[in-house]
Every structure is written in structure tokens, then in C-alpha cells.
């Protein structure tokens, strides 16, 4: 008997699955007991913006950083223009 056939048959058997009848209903019953959840799925950038909105220090830091970057950029452009 070929070992690879046995192995493949065993893998196929391990891939079989019986979903118990009413499984989703049971899960949903428990979920309804928990009740609606609050929140909203957000991406990383939106998460950062939200966080900054509720942290005044972060807002101030962002303004300082943006200003510093603008100054550096202007200085560089001026240097390029002057040669």
C-alpha cells in the first residue's frame, strides 16, 4: 500500500467537518444576550486622527511639527533658488 495515498486520504479526512445543526443559531442566541456593540471599524490613519482629536497635546505637537517642516522646506527651496 502506497504511503502517499494513505497520507492524502488521511489529510482529506482531516479536512472533513460536520457543522452541528443549529450552530449559528446557538452563537447568535448568545450574541443577542450580549446586545448591540458600539464602535466603528476604522483604519490606522483614521485611528491616529481620532486619537489626536481627543489629545490637545498631540494636536499642538502636530502643529509645531508641521510648522518646523514648512520652515525647513522653505529654507531648502530658498537655498536651491539662491544657488
Amino acid at each position: 500500500m502506497k504511503a502517499n495515498l494513505i497520507y492524502e486520504r488521511w489529510l482529506r479526512r482531516r479536512r472533513e467537518v460536520d457543522v452541528p445543526q443549529g450552530f449559528a443559531d446557538d452563537v447568535m442566541r448568545q450574541i443577542h444576550l450580549v446586545g448591540p456593540i458600539e464602535g466603528r471599524a476604522v483604519g490606522r490613519a483614521e485611528r491616529l486622527l481620532n486619537w489626536m482629536q481627543v489629545h490637545p497635546a498631540a494636536q499642538a505637537a502636530a502643529v509645531v511639527l508641521a510648522t518646523a517642516l514648512a520652515v525647513v522646506q522653505s529654507a531648502l527651496l530658498l537655498r536651491i533658488a539662491v544657488g
Binding site: 504511503a3 450552530f23 452563537v27 447568535m28 456593540i37 466603528r40 471599524a41
Partner: protein, 180 residues
């Protein structure tokens, strides 16, 4: 088919029943993965219910920028399975080895013996190797997804799967008389 993220958005807006779509979509792979990790049908069902409940409770913390919902769900399933395994020393349930349907009873008995040996070998694998093997060979997840779920590098995942395969083949080889 509605996108998972669209369903998640509905649930987070308070449409609890929308979560049923996700349960029905992923109940099979989640039950199968847990079943292959803990080798106990009743416990698998309990853990699978816990997984969906945990996913629902923590849905707002799911970050779609970091992973797919399925990978996130598998991560919860993997962690819960490993917790269950830690809680008890794994003993292979007798009733979990399904008979193989073939004509000749003698051949069937031999094949059952081989498959039982593979079952035992899978159950005896270290947890990290078993998890990687189950996700790759049974759930057909990509190495990248498994690496994300396990929190390791792709190379580590490949090496775990190779070691698991070698051990399974060794177990089979000792019965069939073939080399590892």
C-alpha cells in the same frame, strides 16, 4: 457575496443580526481548525462558540488595515485552542478516528491503523508545529497569513511545517516500511 468589512460596519452600527453572515461564512473553517487542534468534537464546538462570541465582543478593535477578518478570527481560534490544550494533557479521543469506507474489511482495518497512527502523530506534535501544519495543510492558508497569525517570520512557519511533515511521514513510514 457581501464583503466582510461591510458586514462588520453594519454590526458596529448596531445591526447585531448581520453578524450571523460571518458566523455562517466561517463556522466550517473555524470548527475544522479547532477540531484538528484539540481532537475533541464537543470541546471544539464549545471553543468555536467562544471564538465567535469573543470576535463579536471585540469587533470594534478589529483593525482592517492590519489583517483580514478571517486571519483575525483564526488568530482567536488558534489562541483559544492552545489555551484549551494547555488546560489539559491531550489524550486522543477514541471516537474521533473515523472509519475508512473501503470494500475489503482486512484492508480497511490496516488503513484505519495507518490513519490512527497519523492522528496520534499529529496530536503528539509540538503545539507550534501542529498549529502551522493545520493552518497550511488543512485550512490551506498562505505562509504569510500563518506568519501573521503566529507572530513569526515566514521562514519559521515553513520550517515548522516541514518538521511536522517529517514527523508524520516518520510515523507512517514506521508502519508502511518506507523511509521518512
Amino acid at each position: 457575496m457581501t464583503d466582510d468589512n461591510a458586514i462588520i460596519a453594519q454590526v458596529l452600527e448596531g445591526h447585531t443580526e448581520a453578524f450571523r453572515v460571518l458566523v455562517e461564512r466561517y463556522q466550517k473553517p473555524v470548527l475544522r481548525m479547532i477540531g484538528n487542534m484539540v481532537y475533541d468534537r464537543h470541546q471544539s464546538e464549545d471553543i468555536a462558540q467562544e471564538v465567535f462570541l469573543a470576535a463579536y465582543r471585540h469587533l470594534a478593535s478589529f483593525d482592517r488595515a492590519r489583517s483580514r477578518f478571517s486571519s483575525w478570527l483564526f488568530t482567536i481560534a488558534r489562541n483559544r485552542s492552545l489555551n484549551a490544550l494547555k488546560a489539559r494533557r491531550l489524550a486522543l479521543a477514541d471516537g474521533d478516528t473515523m472509519p475508512t469506507a473501503v470494500g475489503d474489511p482486512e484492508t480497511a482495518a490496516v488503513e484505519r491503523e495507518y490513519e490512527a497512527a497519523l492522528d496520534r502523530a499529529l496530536a503528539a506534535l509540538p503545539q507550534d508545529q501542529r498549529a502551522a501544519f493545520v493552518m497550511a495543510e488543512i485550512e490551506a492558508l498562505s505562509y504569510e497569513d500563518i506568519a501573521r497569525i503566529e507572530g513569526v517570520r515566514v521562514g519559521t512557519v515553513k520550517s515548522r511545517i516541514n518538521r511536522a511533515r517529517q514527523k508524520l511521514w516518520l510515523a507512517l513510514g514506521s508502519l508502511c516500511g518506507v523511509g521518512g
